[in-house]
Amino acid sequence: MTNHYIDLMNSDCILMMGSNPAENHPVSFKWIMKAKEKGATLINVDPRFNRTSSKSDLYVTMRSGTDIPILGGMIKYILDNDLYFKDYVVNYTNASFLVNPDFGFKDGLFTGFDAQGRSYKKDTWTFQMDEQGIPKKDPSLQDPNCVFQLMKNHYERYNLDLVNDISGSPKDKLEEFYKIYAATGAPDKSGTIMYAMGWTQHSVGVQIIRAMSMIQLLLGNIGVAGGGVNALRGESNVQGSTDQALLFHIIPAYMPTPRANLPTLEAYNATTPKSADPKSANWWQNRPKYIASLLKAMYPAQDPATSYNFMPKLDAGQNCSWLVLFDHMFQGKFKGFFAWGQNPAGCGANSTKTREALSKLDWMVVVNVFDNETASFWKGPNVNPAQTKTEVFVLPPAVFCEKEGSISNSGRWIQWRYTGPKPLGNCKPDGDIAYELWEKIRDLYAKEGGAFPDPILNLNSKDIATNHVFDAHKVAKLMNGYFVTDKVIGDKTYNAGTQVPSFAFLQDDGSTASGNWLHCGAYTEAGNLMARRGKEQTEMQANIGLYPNWAFCWPVNRRIIYNRASCDPQGQPYAPQKAVIKWDGSKWIGDVPDGGWPPSERHPFIMRPQGYGQLFGPGLADGPFPEHYEALECPFEEQPFSSQLNNPVALVFAGEEEHRAVCDPRYPFVGTTYRVTEHWQSGVMTRWTPWLLEAMPQNFAEIDPELAQLRGIKNGDKVIVENMRGAIECVAMVTPRLQPMMSMGQKLHMVGMTWHFGWVHPKDGGDSANLLTPSVGDPNTGIPETKTFMVNIRKK
């Protein structure tokens, strides 16, 4: 989230699309209702009338997978009716930038498409530069090659008739939606978006979010109270685990993973983002300090240039994301596998394939609180243990309140948790398990030698454990960082061992160690700021609920990021009644500003090399402007926006095309997945909690009454939902919350299921809907397309 949960109360219009917060982030609704009480309009756009819809002022139905047409239609509406926030768009976005005249778009394809490689060569997705190397601009926004005009031209096709035809959303509802939301383009108004996996889990997921980000930029809604682009993360610490980079493509705090074509730290640092514009903060220019400090945190005895060699390197262009990982496992490419606090046999797309992949391993280590479909896969349905070689270890971890440490919520607030009871039975905190395992592996390498033992033998342990036991305080201090050698900065000397006060003090020469530059300031010489419980606020802070003395928020306790964009070029807030920051003539007051420079000295989007919000986004794999493509499994052979039916660069796997249902009469209904309040993810924790299981005992298939009649299904009947990947049995829930929908001349029905259940427990709960979802994904993130696929439903 650019903003945070409490900030929702400051909004004039809350759009909930691709999320169902009343069901899945229930306590966030406290702040949504607070906004409503204060006069905000709540809008919900969703294929199903759900708990969020029931509290919304406006509900707009839609066909699953048509978010880009709907949002593209809004972009067109805003531009056609001159409803954008002109000063913001001209001063703070790249609308005025002149694009390379060779850039183009034709029939669903941007310039540079390589059909064989299923990718784009992006050399025309660039800006025209002046002699200083700064993008040329036309602040009048009239130049035919400026971003604004190209965008206008791109969305010219997204007219109301077409959007209505493809999405099935009624025209009058769409118009009402556009009108209400676009009104937040007034300088003193703000609108916000709350999205979740309803947007990410599509083969065009990133572009859906980009389309909304463009709307937020056009309306001046980023950096302001009650605005922003707000991802509702699915797990309590998925924000933190992402910040710590338990992902293939990044190392902690969003630095790219070293690649084979960057063999030295010097070569890595040569790729540091650059800007020739003296008014661009280009914050990532500091990256060499952050990687040197990270390497020093991991390997304290080596200088960073040496320990860079300890980091495993990806080949240039290598993708190891989730679906690829399980595809390689399926092909038998791995010997060993750790499933640490996750149940891929139920939570990942195409779990049928995942379950089979597990049988190709030599060994697997599962760390989980309860038995689950991954740990016990070898005795699952249709598996013969006598033919399954995988050696399995199941390690019991402590639960959240049996250990100490911090977690980060979606709003980037890092809060501290204390130890209540000691770990039950033989359980151990995950940190202890990891640390003890390292000691054992280190001892083996120390004794026997082996392949390149240096990274293992030299991994930091002094800042990790005390008396061989994992120490969360030590690690939190290491993540904040400290001076490795005495250092004079300004007129002050910082002795070796002193905690760094903030990331501004980190160095690129190995004289500081910091495990995560975004955590700098969280555990300083002043103590553990994540554990703070202060509620003191200035009147200005209290007005928008910033709570700067409660816990810690990355970066530098800034609660609303890009907040310099909430003020005009003189530093005065566009919305004085809910100001985030304000220049008082000598300094900024309110929230921690995005850099202390006086107004207008720096462009507000400090993480972008040019300093501007990107209406034209050349960094993505599938184009600088979002474009509609159908899901890889869809009920249509063609679509009206172009002759490209699907995202031409979507992540797909060779040999699986024939297992996809496009206009396949055997699988005529659109399948989708969702969650319920009473359960969580693949259900490992909640299915074993009797109160929750009693409230929601089994999987269901939600269908509309007309489909029920068509298939002779009554509410409560046992049904089979199936496609070429698998079949699940569940209970039919026939409800008018779903309605058949007309789209491009076809009447479409939807089947909605949860993925909370699995065969291990309870006995008659049914199995995961992910047995049916396809292994195809977004080209930027690799996130699987589990929100739109094709199925059949029949009575059992």
Binding site: I6, H25, V27, S236, N237, G240, S241, L246, L247, F310, P312, K313, L314, D315, Q318, C320, H328, F334, K335, G336, F338, W340, G341, Q342, C347, V365, V369, F370, W378, A386, T388, K389, T390, V392, F393, P396, F400, C401, N409, S410, Y418, G420, P421, L424, N426, C427, A434, L437, I441, L444, P455, I464, A472, M479, R533, K535, H679, M685, T686, T689
Partner: protein
């Protein structure tokens, strides 16, 4: 002295109970007050944050100072400004997650081609996992790729998880896996 709402309850457990149950026609005051005081006097009180969704509602965990030292109550923390004491159905059931007879409390081991679990001690399990890691690593470690570039990676081991861990654990886990040379490192954020 400024009192948080929770501190206020501590000082006036009996007084607050009266208003809450005043309309029932019978007096619950002594029972409720006694329950609240038991919780406060015979338990360690720690704050925590819910382990389910990403809103991060505040919790108060009461742990018995007697017996096995187990949790006796988990409820919303009214002082937490994000949740102000509220919890959803999942958050309200956290006591049952913690004190649950079906939790894994022992190491389970399944040998290749076996049809059953056997229990194992920590030392044995970690020793064997360490040995398997070393074998797989040594066999699949790749110093240079096909182009002759140094990559220093272990192609034969993959890791997934975990958004369920604390930040400090996540940081160490990525450091450990990367020190082993893993590049197939993924977790919940990808799905």
């Amino acid at each position: 002295m400024k009192l948080g709402r929770r501190e206020f309850i501590k000082l006036s457990a009996t007084a607050t109970a009266v208003t809450a149950f005043g309309g029932l026609g019978f007096n619950l005051q002594p029972t409720v007050a006694r329950a609240q005081l038991l919780r406060l006097n015979w338990a360690k009180e720690t704050t925590s944050i819910c382990c389910y969704c990403s809103v991060s509602c505040g919790l108060i965990v009461h742990t018995s100072l007697e017996g096995q030292g187990r949790a006796i109550n988990i409820e919303g923390d009214p002082d937490n400004p994000i949740s102000e004491g509220s919890l959803c159905a999942k958050g309200a059931s956290l006591y049952q997650l913690t004190e649950n007879e079906n939790r894994m409390t022992k190491i389970l081991y399944r040998a290749p081609y076996s049809n059953k679990w056997v229990e194992a001690p920590w030392d044995w399990a970690l020793d064997r996992i360490a040995k398997k890691v070393k074998e797989a690593r040594d066999e699949t470690f790749t110093e240079k790729n096909d182009q002759g570039q140094v990559v220093n990676r272990t192609n034969g081991i993959a890791h997934i998880g975990s958004a369920a861990l604390d930040n400090e654990e996540c940081w160490y886990l990525q450091a450990l896996m990367r020190s082993l040379g893993l590049v197939y490192i993924e977790h919940q954020a990808r799905i």
